[in-house]
Protein backbone atom coordinates (compact mmCIF):
# COMPACT_ATOMS: atom_id res chain seq x y z
CA UNK A 1 0.00 0.00 0.00
CA UNK A 2 2.66 2.42 1.10
CA UNK A 3 4.93 1.38 -1.76
CA UNK A 4 2.14 1.80 -4.29
CA UNK A 5 1.52 5.29 -3.01
CA UNK A 6 5.19 6.09 -3.32
CA UNK A 7 5.31 4.74 -6.87
CA UNK A 8 2.43 7.01 -7.83
CA UNK A 9 4.24 9.99 -6.35
CA UNK A 10 7.32 9.74 -8.53
CA UNK A 11 6.67 12.56 -11.03
CA UNK A 12 10.34 12.68 -12.04
CA UNK A 13 9.98 9.39 -13.89
CA UNK A 14 6.85 10.37 -15.79
CA UNK A 15 6.95 11.68 -19.29
CA UNK A 16 4.72 14.71 -19.32
CA UNK A 17 5.11 17.20 -22.15
CA UNK A 18 2.05 19.21 -21.25
CA UNK A 19 2.69 22.82 -20.27
CA UNK A 20 0.18 25.01 -18.47
CA UNK A 21 0.29 28.17 -20.53
CA UNK A 22 1.23 29.61 -23.88
CA UNK A 23 4.02 31.63 -22.26
CA UNK A 24 5.46 28.40 -20.82
CA UNK A 25 5.15 26.86 -24.30
CA UNK A 26 7.45 29.44 -25.89
CA UNK A 27 9.73 30.07 -22.88
CA UNK A 28 13.45 30.14 -23.64
CA UNK A 29 13.27 30.68 -27.40
CA UNK A 30 16.51 32.56 -28.08
CA UNK A 31 17.26 35.54 -30.29
CA UNK A 32 18.63 34.44 -33.64
CA UNK A 33 16.66 31.18 -33.67
CA UNK A 34 15.56 29.43 -36.84
CA UNK A 35 11.87 28.69 -36.36
CA UNK A 36 9.64 26.41 -38.45
CA UNK A 37 6.02 27.57 -38.49
CA UNK A 38 3.48 24.95 -39.56
CA UNK A 39 0.47 25.55 -41.76
CA UNK A 40 -0.59 25.92 -45.36
CA UNK A 41 -2.11 29.38 -45.35
CA UNK A 42 -4.38 29.43 -42.29
CA UNK A 43 -4.97 25.67 -42.46
CA UNK A 44 -2.90 24.23 -39.62
CA UNK A 45 -1.28 27.53 -38.67
CA UNK A 46 -0.27 27.65 -34.96
CA UNK A 47 -1.84 31.06 -34.40
CA UNK A 48 -1.84 30.98 -30.58
CA UNK A 49 1.84 29.98 -30.44
CA UNK A 50 2.80 32.72 -32.89
CA UNK A 51 0.98 35.26 -30.70
CA UNK A 52 2.85 33.88 -27.69
CA UNK A 53 6.16 34.15 -29.55
CA UNK A 54 5.42 37.82 -30.28
CA UNK A 55 4.74 38.39 -26.55
CA UNK A 56 7.90 36.47 -25.67
CA UNK A 57 9.96 38.89 -27.73
CA UNK A 58 12.71 36.82 -29.39
CA UNK A 59 14.27 38.72 -32.30
CA UNK A 60 16.56 38.33 -35.32
CA UNK A 61 14.58 35.24 -36.25
CA UNK A 62 14.78 33.13 -39.38
CA UNK A 63 11.34 31.76 -40.20
CA UNK A 64 10.75 28.63 -42.28
CA UNK A 65 7.17 28.47 -43.51
CA UNK A 66 5.23 27.67 -46.67
CA UNK A 67 3.55 31.08 -46.73
CA UNK A 68 4.33 34.56 -45.45
CA UNK A 69 1.04 35.39 -43.75
CA UNK A 70 -1.97 37.33 -44.92
CA UNK A 71 -3.79 40.41 -43.67
CA UNK A 72 -2.53 42.23 -40.59
CA UNK A 73 -2.61 41.69 -36.85
CA UNK A 74 -2.52 37.91 -36.63
CA UNK A 75 -0.35 34.90 -37.42
CA UNK A 76 2.83 35.17 -39.46
CA UNK A 77 1.83 38.62 -40.74
CA UNK A 78 1.73 39.94 -37.15
CA UNK A 79 5.11 38.35 -36.39
CA UNK A 80 6.65 39.95 -39.50
CA UNK A 81 5.09 43.31 -38.52
CA UNK A 82 7.17 43.34 -35.33
CA UNK A 83 10.32 43.59 -37.46
CA UNK A 84 11.90 40.67 -35.59
CA UNK A 85 12.21 38.39 -38.61
CA UNK A 86 15.32 38.98 -40.69
CA UNK A 87 14.79 36.19 -43.19
CA UNK A 88 12.02 33.91 -44.39
CA UNK A 89 12.52 30.58 -46.11
CA UNK A 90 9.33 30.10 -48.03
CA UNK A 91 7.69 28.59 -51.13
CA UNK A 92 4.73 30.87 -51.68
CA UNK A 93 5.09 34.27 -49.96
CA UNK A 94 2.79 36.08 -52.39
CA UNK A 95 -0.56 34.73 -51.21
CA UNK A 96 -3.64 36.86 -51.51
CA UNK A 97 -3.45 39.69 -48.97
CA UNK A 98 0.18 39.09 -47.95
CA UNK A 99 0.58 42.86 -47.59
CA UNK A 100 2.97 42.91 -44.63
CA UNK A 101 5.51 40.64 -46.30
CA UNK A 102 5.26 42.53 -49.59
CA UNK A 103 5.89 45.89 -47.86
CA UNK A 104 8.91 44.55 -45.97
CA UNK A 105 10.27 42.88 -49.11
CA UNK A 106 9.84 46.00 -51.25
CA UNK A 107 11.59 48.05 -48.55
CA UNK A 108 14.48 45.57 -48.41
CA UNK A 109 13.74 44.83 -44.75
CA UNK A 110 13.43 41.07 -45.06
CA UNK A 111 15.49 38.50 -46.90
CA UNK A 112 13.63 35.86 -48.91
CA UNK A 113 14.95 32.40 -49.72
CA UNK A 114 12.44 31.06 -52.24
CA UNK A 115 12.23 27.25 -52.28
CA UNK A 116 9.96 24.98 -54.36
CA UNK A 117 7.33 23.55 -52.04
CA UNK A 118 8.34 19.91 -52.38
CA UNK A 119 12.00 20.83 -52.00
CA UNK A 120 11.16 22.81 -48.86
CA UNK A 121 9.36 19.82 -47.39
CA UNK A 122 12.09 17.38 -48.47
CA UNK A 123 14.90 19.61 -47.11
CA UNK A 124 13.22 19.45 -43.70
CA UNK A 125 12.73 15.71 -44.06
CA UNK A 126 16.42 15.36 -44.92
CA UNK A 127 17.34 17.46 -41.90
CA UNK A 128 15.11 15.33 -39.67
CA UNK A 129 16.60 12.14 -41.10
CA UNK A 130 20.22 13.21 -40.68
CA UNK A 131 21.01 13.42 -44.38
CA UNK A 132 23.54 15.86 -45.82
CA UNK A 133 21.38 16.62 -48.84
CA UNK A 134 19.76 15.15 -51.91
CA UNK A 135 19.63 15.59 -55.69
CA UNK A 136 16.27 16.52 -57.21
CA UNK A 137 15.20 17.41 -60.77
CA UNK A 138 12.87 20.07 -59.34
CA UNK A 139 14.21 23.50 -60.26
CA UNK A 140 16.90 22.22 -62.65
CA UNK A 141 17.41 24.67 -65.50
CA UNK A 142 15.64 27.49 -63.62
CA UNK A 143 16.64 30.59 -61.65
CA UNK A 144 16.12 28.70 -58.39
CA UNK A 145 19.06 26.40 -59.20
CA UNK A 146 21.43 29.35 -59.41
CA UNK A 147 24.53 28.84 -57.26
CA UNK A 148 23.70 25.19 -56.56
CA UNK A 149 25.53 22.14 -57.82
CA UNK A 150 23.80 20.58 -60.82
CA UNK A 151 24.65 17.03 -61.77
CA UNK A 152 23.52 14.63 -64.44
CA UNK A 153 22.28 11.13 -63.62
CA UNK A 154 21.08 8.86 -66.45
CA UNK A 155 20.77 11.82 -68.79
CA UNK A 156 18.67 13.97 -66.50
CA UNK A 157 19.84 17.09 -64.65
CA UNK A 158 19.44 17.21 -60.87
CA UNK A 159 20.05 19.99 -58.32
CA UNK A 160 21.82 19.41 -55.02
CA UNK A 161 19.65 20.62 -52.15
CA UNK A 162 20.90 20.85 -48.56
CA UNK A 163 18.88 19.97 -45.47
CA UNK A 164 17.02 22.35 -43.19
CA UNK A 165 17.18 21.93 -39.45
CA UNK A 166 15.62 24.33 -36.99
CA UNK A 167 16.03 25.41 -33.38
CA UNK A 168 12.29 25.51 -32.86
CA UNK A 169 9.13 24.24 -34.58
CA UNK A 170 5.74 25.71 -33.71
CA UNK A 171 2.92 23.56 -35.07
CA UNK A 172 -0.78 22.86 -34.52
CA UNK A 173 -2.47 19.48 -34.12
CA UNK A 174 -5.97 18.44 -33.16
CA UNK A 175 -5.23 16.36 -30.08
CA UNK A 176 -2.32 14.96 -28.12
CA UNK A 177 -1.61 12.85 -25.06
CA UNK A 178 0.94 13.73 -22.38
CA UNK A 179 3.66 11.87 -24.27
CA UNK A 180 3.17 14.23 -27.20
CA UNK A 181 1.64 11.70 -29.59
CA UNK A 182 -0.25 13.77 -32.16
CA UNK A 183 -3.35 13.43 -34.32
CA UNK A 184 -4.16 16.22 -36.77
CA UNK A 185 -7.38 17.58 -38.23
CA UNK A 186 -7.95 17.07 -41.93
CA UNK A 187 -5.74 19.07 -44.33
CA UNK A 188 -4.29 20.98 -41.36
CA UNK A 189 -1.80 18.11 -41.07
CA UNK A 190 0.35 19.50 -43.94
CA UNK A 191 3.80 20.46 -42.57
CA UNK A 192 3.36 19.35 -38.92
CA UNK A 193 4.70 15.80 -39.34
CA UNK A 194 7.90 16.98 -41.07
CA UNK A 195 8.56 20.08 -38.97
CA UNK A 196 8.21 18.23 -35.66
CA UNK A 197 11.26 15.98 -36.21
CA UNK A 198 13.47 18.63 -37.84
CA UNK A 199 13.59 20.99 -34.83
CA UNK A 200 15.50 20.75 -31.55
CA UNK A 201 12.48 22.09 -29.66
CA UNK A 202 9.03 21.20 -31.00
CA UNK A 203 6.05 22.95 -29.48
CA UNK A 204 2.50 21.94 -30.37
CA UNK A 205 -0.79 23.69 -29.78
CA UNK A 206 -3.75 21.34 -29.65
CA UNK A 207 -7.49 21.72 -29.27
CA UNK A 208 -7.62 18.82 -26.83
CA UNK A 209 -5.33 16.80 -24.57
CA UNK A 210 -6.52 13.22 -24.08
CA UNK A 211 -5.62 10.43 -21.64
CA UNK A 212 -2.45 8.49 -22.37
CA UNK A 213 -3.51 5.28 -24.09
CA UNK A 214 -6.71 6.65 -25.54
CA UNK A 215 -5.18 7.29 -28.97
CA UNK A 216 -5.15 4.10 -31.05
CA UNK A 217 -1.44 3.46 -31.87
CA UNK A 218 -2.53 2.78 -35.46
CA UNK A 219 -3.72 6.37 -35.88
CA UNK A 220 -0.90 8.29 -34.19
CA UNK A 221 0.47 10.52 -36.98
CA UNK A 222 3.41 12.11 -35.17
CA UNK A 223 4.95 9.93 -32.45
CA UNK A 224 5.73 11.77 -29.23
CA UNK A 225 9.48 11.26 -29.63
CA UNK A 226 9.43 14.29 -31.96
CA UNK A 227 7.48 16.52 -29.55
CA UNK A 228 8.76 18.50 -26.55
CA UNK A 229 5.88 20.67 -25.35
CA UNK A 230 2.12 20.47 -25.77
CA UNK A 231 -0.28 23.25 -24.85
CA UNK A 232 -4.04 23.15 -25.07
CA UNK A 233 -5.77 26.18 -26.56
CA UNK A 234 -9.41 26.88 -27.34
CA UNK A 235 -10.12 26.41 -31.02
Amino acid sequence: MNQGLRAEKRPCTMIDKRVASLSDAVAGIADGSTICLGGFGDSGSPLALIDALIQQGARDLIVVSNNAGSGRGSGIAALLETGRVTKIVCSFPRSEGSVVFEELYAAGKIELELVPQGTLSERMRAGAAGLAGFYTPTGAGTLLAKGKEEREFEGRTYVLERPITADVALIAAHHADRWGNLVYHSAARNFGPVMAPCAKLTVVQVAQIVELGSIDPEVVVTPGIFVDRVVQVAR
Binding site: D42, E96, V115, Q117, R125, G139, H185, N190
Partner: protein, 227 residues
Protein backbone atom coordinates in the same frame (compact mmCIF):
# COMPACT_ATOMS: atom_id res chain seq x y z
CA UNK B 1 -14.57 37.99 -84.87
CA UNK B 2 -17.13 35.38 -85.68
CA UNK B 3 -16.37 32.99 -82.82
CA UNK B 4 -16.94 32.86 -79.07
CA UNK B 5 -14.04 31.91 -76.75
CA UNK B 6 -14.80 29.37 -74.04
CA UNK B 7 -15.70 30.66 -70.60
CA UNK B 8 -13.47 29.49 -67.72
CA UNK B 9 -16.04 26.87 -66.68
CA UNK B 10 -16.46 25.65 -70.27
CA UNK B 11 -12.69 25.26 -70.47
CA UNK B 12 -12.65 23.32 -67.17
CA UNK B 13 -15.48 21.12 -68.48
CA UNK B 14 -13.57 20.44 -71.71
CA UNK B 15 -10.48 19.32 -69.78
CA UNK B 16 -12.57 17.07 -67.52
CA UNK B 17 -13.81 15.16 -70.61
CA UNK B 18 -10.21 14.04 -71.27
CA UNK B 19 -9.50 12.68 -67.79
CA UNK B 20 -8.59 9.00 -68.21
CA UNK B 21 -10.54 6.51 -66.10
CA UNK B 22 -8.53 5.63 -63.01
CA UNK B 23 -6.08 8.54 -63.35
CA UNK B 24 -4.47 10.34 -60.43
CA UNK B 25 -4.57 14.02 -61.38
CA UNK B 26 -3.11 16.99 -59.54
CA UNK B 27 -5.09 20.22 -59.69
CA UNK B 28 -2.96 23.38 -59.61
CA UNK B 29 -4.02 26.82 -58.42
CA UNK B 30 -6.49 28.82 -60.52
CA UNK B 31 -8.30 27.39 -63.53
CA UNK B 32 -7.38 23.74 -62.80
CA UNK B 33 -9.21 23.67 -59.43
CA UNK B 34 -12.47 24.18 -61.38
CA UNK B 35 -12.02 20.88 -63.21
CA UNK B 36 -13.01 18.82 -60.12
CA UNK B 37 -16.69 19.74 -60.49
CA UNK B 38 -16.98 18.37 -64.04
CA UNK B 39 -15.88 14.72 -63.75
CA UNK B 40 -17.97 12.61 -66.15
CA UNK B 41 -20.17 10.08 -64.35
CA UNK B 42 -18.87 7.12 -66.33
CA UNK B 43 -15.39 7.10 -64.80
CA UNK B 44 -13.42 7.46 -61.58
CA UNK B 45 -10.69 10.08 -61.48
CA UNK B 46 -8.80 10.80 -58.24
CA UNK B 47 -7.87 14.43 -57.80
CA UNK B 48 -4.75 15.26 -55.79
CA UNK B 49 -4.15 18.53 -53.99
CA UNK B 50 -0.52 19.34 -53.15
CA UNK B 51 -1.29 20.29 -49.55
CA UNK B 52 -2.04 16.65 -48.79
CA UNK B 53 -5.28 15.31 -50.25
CA UNK B 54 -6.32 12.55 -52.62
CA UNK B 55 -9.99 12.33 -53.58
CA UNK B 56 -10.82 16.03 -53.70
CA UNK B 57 -14.49 16.72 -54.42
CA UNK B 58 -16.51 19.83 -55.25
CA UNK B 59 -16.79 22.89 -52.97
CA UNK B 60 -18.82 22.33 -49.77
CA UNK B 61 -22.52 23.12 -49.53
CA UNK B 62 -23.45 25.93 -47.13
CA UNK B 63 -23.30 24.65 -43.54
CA UNK B 64 -20.78 21.93 -44.41
CA UNK B 65 -17.64 24.07 -44.69
CA UNK B 66 -14.43 23.13 -42.86
CA UNK B 67 -12.02 26.10 -43.05
CA UNK B 68 -9.03 23.78 -42.66
CA UNK B 69 -10.08 21.46 -45.51
CA UNK B 70 -8.71 23.49 -48.40
CA UNK B 71 -7.15 22.96 -51.82
CA UNK B 72 -3.87 24.33 -53.23
CA UNK B 73 -5.53 27.72 -53.76
CA UNK B 74 -6.72 27.72 -50.11
CA UNK B 75 -10.35 27.41 -51.21
CA UNK B 76 -12.57 25.13 -49.15
CA UNK B 77 -13.24 21.73 -50.71
CA UNK B 78 -14.83 18.39 -49.80
CA UNK B 79 -13.48 14.85 -49.81
CA UNK B 80 -15.12 12.04 -51.79
CA UNK B 81 -15.55 8.46 -50.49
CA UNK B 82 -12.13 6.75 -50.67
CA UNK B 83 -10.23 9.97 -50.02
CA UNK B 84 -7.06 10.17 -47.95
CA UNK B 85 -5.19 12.88 -46.06
CA UNK B 86 -1.41 12.97 -45.69
CA UNK B 87 1.52 15.21 -44.86
CA UNK B 88 3.72 17.27 -47.17
CA UNK B 89 6.61 14.83 -47.58
CA UNK B 90 4.17 12.11 -48.68
CA UNK B 91 2.22 14.49 -50.92
CA UNK B 92 5.37 15.63 -52.68
CA UNK B 93 6.71 12.09 -52.83
CA UNK B 94 3.65 11.41 -55.00
CA UNK B 95 4.43 14.46 -57.12
CA UNK B 96 8.22 14.26 -57.33
CA UNK B 97 8.43 10.49 -57.56
CA UNK B 98 6.40 10.26 -60.77
CA UNK B 99 3.22 8.85 -59.18
CA UNK B 100 0.90 11.58 -60.49
CA UNK B 101 -0.44 10.72 -63.96
CA UNK B 102 -1.33 14.26 -65.00
CA UNK B 103 -0.61 17.68 -63.51
CA UNK B 104 -3.11 20.32 -64.58
CA UNK B 105 -1.40 23.69 -64.29
CA UNK B 106 -2.05 27.30 -65.13
CA UNK B 107 0.60 29.24 -67.04
CA UNK B 108 1.75 32.71 -68.02
CA UNK B 109 3.56 31.38 -71.10
CA UNK B 110 4.23 28.09 -72.85
CA UNK B 111 6.84 27.65 -75.59
CA UNK B 112 6.64 25.47 -78.69
CA UNK B 113 9.34 23.19 -77.22
CA UNK B 114 7.24 22.60 -74.08
CA UNK B 115 9.00 25.10 -71.82
CA UNK B 116 6.69 26.26 -69.04
CA UNK B 117 6.67 29.68 -67.34
CA UNK B 118 4.10 29.97 -64.56
CA UNK B 119 5.85 31.24 -61.42
CA UNK B 120 7.46 34.61 -62.08
CA UNK B 121 6.97 37.51 -64.44
CA UNK B 122 9.40 40.25 -65.40
CA UNK B 123 8.04 42.68 -62.81
CA UNK B 124 11.19 43.11 -60.77
CA UNK B 125 9.75 44.67 -57.60
CA UNK B 126 7.21 41.97 -56.81
CA UNK B 127 8.35 39.13 -54.56
CA UNK B 128 8.52 35.85 -56.45
CA UNK B 129 6.44 32.85 -55.35
CA UNK B 130 6.73 29.30 -56.65
CA UNK B 131 4.72 26.92 -54.46
CA UNK B 132 4.57 23.41 -55.91
CA UNK B 133 4.83 24.49 -59.55
CA UNK B 134 8.42 23.34 -60.13
CA UNK B 135 7.85 20.03 -58.34
CA UNK B 136 4.75 19.31 -60.43
CA UNK B 137 6.36 20.37 -63.70
CA UNK B 138 9.42 18.19 -63.09
CA UNK B 139 7.70 15.24 -61.42
CA UNK B 140 4.32 14.50 -63.00
CA UNK B 141 4.14 11.93 -65.83
CA UNK B 142 2.27 14.41 -68.03
CA UNK B 143 1.81 18.17 -67.75
CA UNK B 144 -1.32 19.71 -69.23
CA UNK B 145 -1.74 23.47 -69.14
CA UNK B 146 -5.01 25.40 -68.89
CA UNK B 147 -4.73 29.05 -69.93
CA UNK B 148 -6.24 31.97 -71.81
CA UNK B 149 -4.88 31.91 -75.33
CA UNK B 150 -3.62 35.52 -75.18
CA UNK B 151 -2.91 38.27 -72.67
CA UNK B 152 -5.66 40.83 -72.05
CA UNK B 153 -4.09 43.14 -74.63
CA UNK B 154 -4.21 40.37 -77.24
CA UNK B 155 -0.47 39.63 -77.19
CA UNK B 156 0.40 35.94 -77.44
CA UNK B 157 1.22 33.64 -74.52
CA UNK B 158 2.01 30.62 -76.68
CA UNK B 159 5.47 31.51 -77.91
CA UNK B 160 8.55 30.28 -79.73
CA UNK B 161 10.51 30.84 -76.50
CA UNK B 162 9.25 31.99 -73.08
CA UNK B 163 10.32 35.49 -72.04
CA UNK B 164 9.46 34.92 -68.35
CA UNK B 165 11.66 32.76 -66.08
CA UNK B 166 11.09 29.05 -66.65
CA UNK B 167 9.33 26.72 -64.22
CA UNK B 168 10.84 23.76 -66.04
CA UNK B 169 12.23 23.16 -69.52
CA UNK B 170 10.38 21.04 -72.10
CA UNK B 171 7.67 19.52 -69.89
CA UNK B 172 4.28 20.57 -71.31
CA UNK B 173 2.47 17.88 -73.34
CA UNK B 174 -0.86 19.61 -74.02
CA UNK B 175 -2.46 23.05 -73.76
CA UNK B 176 -6.16 23.80 -73.34
CA UNK B 177 -6.94 27.43 -74.10
CA UNK B 178 -10.22 29.32 -74.44
CA UNK B 179 -9.78 28.96 -78.22
CA UNK B 180 -8.09 25.63 -78.90
CA UNK B 181 -6.68 22.31 -77.73
CA UNK B 182 -3.02 22.08 -78.71
CA UNK B 183 -0.57 19.21 -78.30
CA UNK B 184 3.17 19.75 -78.11
CA UNK B 185 5.25 17.39 -80.22
CA UNK B 186 8.12 19.15 -81.97
CA UNK B 187 6.01 22.32 -82.00
CA UNK B 188 2.34 23.22 -81.55
CA UNK B 189 -0.18 20.83 -83.10
CA UNK B 190 -3.79 22.02 -83.16
CA UNK B 191 -6.29 19.28 -82.31
CA UNK B 192 -9.44 21.37 -81.81
CA UNK B 193 -10.47 24.98 -82.48
CA UNK B 194 -13.63 26.79 -81.32
CA UNK B 195 -16.34 26.95 -83.95
CA UNK B 196 -15.91 29.80 -86.44
CA UNK B 197 -12.21 30.39 -85.76
CA UNK B 198 -9.85 29.62 -88.64
CA UNK B 199 -6.30 28.34 -88.30
CA UNK B 200 -5.13 31.65 -89.77
CA UNK B 201 -7.03 33.61 -87.09
CA UNK B 202 -5.62 31.36 -84.36
CA UNK B 203 -2.10 31.71 -85.80
CA UNK B 204 -2.43 35.49 -85.62
CA UNK B 205 -2.98 35.17 -81.86
CA UNK B 206 -0.06 32.76 -81.36
CA UNK B 207 3.66 33.55 -81.18
CA UNK B 208 4.88 30.39 -82.93
CA UNK B 209 3.85 28.31 -85.96
CA UNK B 210 0.82 26.02 -85.66
CA UNK B 211 0.36 22.72 -87.43
CA UNK B 212 -3.11 21.27 -87.95
CA UNK B 213 -3.56 17.70 -86.73
CA UNK B 214 -4.95 15.42 -89.47
CA UNK B 215 -8.07 14.83 -87.35
CA UNK B 216 -8.40 18.45 -86.15
CA UNK B 217 -12.01 19.20 -85.20
CA UNK B 218 -14.33 21.64 -83.49
CA UNK B 219 -13.75 22.26 -79.78
CA UNK B 220 -16.95 20.98 -78.11
CA UNK B 221 -18.82 22.84 -75.37
CA UNK B 222 -20.99 21.45 -72.57
CA UNK B 223 -24.69 21.36 -73.40
CA UNK B 224 -25.74 22.78 -70.03
CA UNK B 225 -23.45 25.80 -69.68
CA UNK B 226 -23.24 26.65 -73.38
CA UNK B 227 -24.44 30.13 -74.31
Amino acid sequence: MSYTPLTRDELAWRVAQDMPDGAYVNLGIGLPTRVAQFVPNDREVVYHSENGLLGVGPPPLPGHEDPELVNAGKQMVTLLPGASIFDHPLSFMMIRGGHIDIALLGAYQVAANGDLANWATDREKAAPAVGGAMDLAAGAKRVWVLMEHTNKDGSPRLLERCTYPLTAPAVVNRIYTNLAVIDIDNGFIVREIVEGCSLAELTALTGAPLRRAPDCGVLPRPATTAR
